[in-house]
């Protein structure tokens, strides 16, 4: 099958699923239900796309199919911020802050944190990406201990808010956030466009990339910033979906069987939409909301991750 055919197939599947999602069981009240569903679908496309793109870029930059940007500790940071605000100020403040401010605080903090990590990485020669990730993970564990500590002390009623934040959910995405996210993501994509052409060469590895004239440190730093912004927006919008990127990008790679990022990124975005819309359909229709999408995806992604590790035939 040619690349075009494959992408066409994926696009068709995505469109069908979206259509089903929008129109299934619409019933009489469609003027109420449809706009809400459209919002959900938009949120899914935005987050799914952001995660797919950032994970692809991240894996290319790290030359590794097993890592995902959320292991940098951003997920734990997000939960920590939410827990801290509720712990210190109570959930009412969270409510009063308004979702926009909360969103910006989250995204801002995560980008700041990522920036600090990168600074550490590029400070010394000989530090590789894994070093950055390890430090990120340690911070992640640190943030988790701090969150756990506060979780225990929070009033159980208040805790509801925290536990809601801990799991990604598309069930209640706010419109204002959506608009804000679209803007941020659009700007980031514009910035990303400058560096997109280096992705193929970067996948050859650091030495080859430099040999072929890529200003490696400069480009990688900027690409990682793009990754950080995209992941932060996605996490702040719907909550932590740690393993979605891993799942989606690897499936795209297996399916498309190419090194070309133009194909890979398109495929992974489409697969991401398929997974999320399809998954959300399952959560709503089959499980009737008794679980959240992120839990299913994290679990499947997690198992897939272990499978990837165990079948490690190449580095």
């Amino acid at each position: 099958m040619t690349y075009k055919a494959k992408l066409g197939l994926l696009a068709a599947a995505a469109i069908i699923l979206v259509a089903v999602f929008l129109f299934i069981d619409l019933g009489g009240n469609w003027d109420y239900a449809l706009p809400r569903r459209i919002k959900k679908v938009l949120a899914i496309i935005l987050t799914g796309g952001a995660i797919a793109l950032s994970t692809t870029v991240f894996q290319t930059v790290t030359n590794n199919r097993i890592l995902t940007p959320s292991v940098m500790g951003l997920d734990s940071l997000y939960i920590l911020i939410q827990t801290t605000v509720i712990f210190v100020f109570g959930s009412f403040t969270l409510y009063k802050l308004g979702s926009n401010v909360n969103f910006l605080i989250n995204v801002g903090a995560m980008i700041l944190f990522a920036g600090i990590l990168y600074k550490i990485l590029f400070q010394r020669e000989g530090n590789n990406i894994y070093f950055l990730l390890l430090i990120g993970m340690i911070f992640g564990t640190l943030f988790s201990s701090m969150s756990s500590f506060m979780e225990v002390l929070i009033d159980p009623n208040e805790f509801q808010y925290v536990s809601d934040k801990m799991f990604a959910s598309f069930n209640n995405v706010k419109t204002e956030l959506l608009i804000l996210s679209v803007i941020v993501v659009a700007l980031t994509l514009l910035y990303f466009a400058r560096f997109a052409k280096y992705l193929n060469v970067l996948s050859l590895g650091r030495d080859q990339a430099i040999n072929l004239g890529v200003n490696y440190d400069y480009v990688v730093k900027r690409l990682l910033i793009v990754v950080a912004v995209l992941i932060s927006v996605a996490t702040a919008l719907v909550g932590p979906i740690t393993f979605l990127g891993l799942l989606v990008v690897n499936v795209a790679y297996e399916f498309m069987k190419t090194y070309r990022h133009s194909h890979l990124i398109t495929a992974s975005i489409l697969i991401s939409i398929i997974a999320l819309v399809g998954g959300q359909l399952v959560v709503e229709r089959v499980f009737t909301f008794s679980t959240t999408l992120s839990v299913i995806i994290n679990f499947i992604g997690g198992v897939y991750f272990i499978y990837l590790l165990l079948k490690e035939s190449r580095a």
Binding site: G205, D207, I210, N211, L212, G213, V214, Y216, A315
Partner: protein, 252 residues
């Protein structure tokens, strides 16, 4: 011309390259030889800006390596290092096409395709140009990488132990191609090589490193001498002349 002046590099408290100065002669094959850990690969890395230097100057055609825009330098100097084990799904042709990146940033025009064709035929890879890299043997993969470097069409070609993992037939083949590149296209080639016989047979100029410093340098016939080699390798090496070539016998 490549000029190295007082270059040093320290790793973990140890001077891996110690105040080295050398001029690489144009239009020739220069070999860096020396025992393990002598600093040959590091020096080569620094010349190609793959690794930073701690002190000193390296100029390519008069301009300091760190001052060159990476994209421009990529059209002048190409380097091929040892470990090329990427697990990408690339055909031979696709890999060689990457060599044109400094010129076309990924969008290949007719001229680029011509360079790619030429590089592939130079390395005799026509039959397998559409095969995937992971289907090839180690030797074939190495030839594909060298084809990529040829497509990059740089005046200076740096190769770090290009004969590792190659069997005898392919080792000779590659060295002969390097000589052709110098003869036909007037390239300047620097290779790090640990097999001194290949260095003896195929290089014009030899730079011998030991403990991070230059132990001796000069034309091949002046370096492949027992007393000089003893200074480099701390070994007694007999030299036999066969067909105008000097063969080192160090086995006994």
């Amino acid at each position: 011309m490549i000029q190295v002046t007082n270059v040093s590099k320290v790793y973990g408290g140890k001077k891996v390259v110690d105040n080295v100065s050398v001029t690489i002669p144009k239009g020739q094959i220069t070999s860096f030889i020396g025992p393990n850990g002598a600093g040959k690969s590091t020096l080569l890395s620094m010349i190609s800006r793959l690794t930073g230097k701690d002190s000193g100057q390296i100029t390519v055609d008069g301009k300091e390596v760190s001052q060159w825009k990476s994209g421009d330098l990529a059209k002048k100097v190409s380097i091929l290092k040892q470990s090329n084990h990427i697990s990408l799904r690339l055909t031979v042709r696709e890999l060689v096409s990457f060599g044109r990146f400094p010129y076309s940033q990924g969008r290949l025009n007719a001229e680029d395709e011509k360079f790619v064709d030429e590089a592939i035929s130079y390395m005799e890879l026509e039959d397998m140009q559409h095969k995937y890299l992971h289907q090839l043997s180690g030797g074939q993969t190495q030839r594909a990488y060298i084809a990529m470097v040829i497509a990059q069409n740089t005046e200076y070609i740096l190769l770090d132990e290009p004969l590792n993992n190659l069997d005898m037939k392919h080792s000779v083949q590659i060295m002969k191609i390097l000589r052709k590149l110098v003869a036909d296209l007037n390239k300047t080639i620097v290779i790090v090589i640990h097999d001194i016989n290949f260095a003896s047979f195929y290089s014009d100029y030899i730079v011998a490193l030991k403990d991070g410093a230059i132990e001796s340098e000069g034309k091949t016939e002046n370096i492949i001498q027992s007393n000089v080699l003893r200074g480099i390798y701390d070994m007694d090496i007999e030299i036999e002349e066969i067909n105008d070539n000097r063969v080192c016998v160090y086995y006994g």
